[in-house]
Symmetry: none
Subunit: 148 residues, 2 copies
DNA sequence: AATGAAACTTGACTTGC
DNA sequence: GCAAGTCAAGTTTCATT
């Protein structure tokens, strides 16, 4: 088990902040901003990746412009011995997955989906159910957003 | 208020899915997977960015290592004839409610809670349960955030 | 920390629908 | 005109020293 903030030094933090702003920034450019050579920046990021602090990189989409206004929460039940990493690997494939958590209780994971309409939603849920390691699911379609 | 998938074609969608998996994937590599030249891929991404569909790129960090608070999802079951407005009025009182939705299915609402620790979480859930109009609840504590 | 080869990015120009 | 392809110059990545 890792302790919060592990051994991130100040350079790591500045570097991660920069990557948070632009996940595609080149190592060279980041290096200029944190006073490090591009090579040193790459080594640090590789190390953060290996330590699990950095899980990966992704694109930030505007859900409204995608027209995906139909939402649902899906409780996912996995087969025995399905690790969170495997669940993540399965869910990553779907751009409709807006968020996902592993949880305590009956289900193993809770998935927040965004789709264009109920047809699209149904389709995604079908495809998620067919992922290896995933046994069944239980869905709740969002009627309205109250808070948040 | 229907915003159908704007003018995203199938190539755009595959391209965005790929970027979702790896926001630092090179244009060349994406191109191989969607059968386009690297230049064409870049032009599409630039266009999606200009249209606001793509907001940017970011690094995905492990929340455990960043000192995030304890979270839970609570399904709330109401008494008959409890309106969404009444549910909202009840939930509004709690600053621990990060988000809330009315949903289809067994439960009436789904509530996303953020607390400092499990003790705090327990306390909030207790207080929500005592709200008039709310009958019972079913909680899942978040173990880890996978996506989002 | 520096080098160099391979890969990537990016703009200008060309082709084809 | 619009979107894709080709080419070439300039950068960046990455293994090695």
């Amino acid at each position: 088990m890792s302790t919060p903030d592990a051994d991130l030094d100040d350079v790591d933090r500045r570097l991660l902040r920069r990557l948070g702003e632009d996940g595609r920034a080149s190592y060279a450019r980041i290096g200029v901003e944190v006073n490090l050579s591009a090579t040193a920046v790459k080594r640090r990021i590789d190390r953060l990746r290996a330590r699990g602090v950095v899980r990966g990189f992704t694109v930030v989409l505007d859900p409204r412009l995608l027209g995906w206004s139909t939402e649902a929460f899906v409780e996912v039940y996995c087969r025995e011995r399905t690790s969170p990493e495997e669940i993540l690997a399965s869910l990553r494939k779907f751009p409709e997955v807006a968020a996902a958590w592993t949880v305590t209780g009956d289900a193993d994971a809770l998935v927040h989906l965004r789709a264009s309409d109920t047809r699209h939603l149904e389709d995604v849920i079908e495809r998620i159910r067919r992922e290896p390691g995933i046994q069944r699911s239980r869905s709740s379609v969002v009627l309205s957003r109250l808070i948040g």
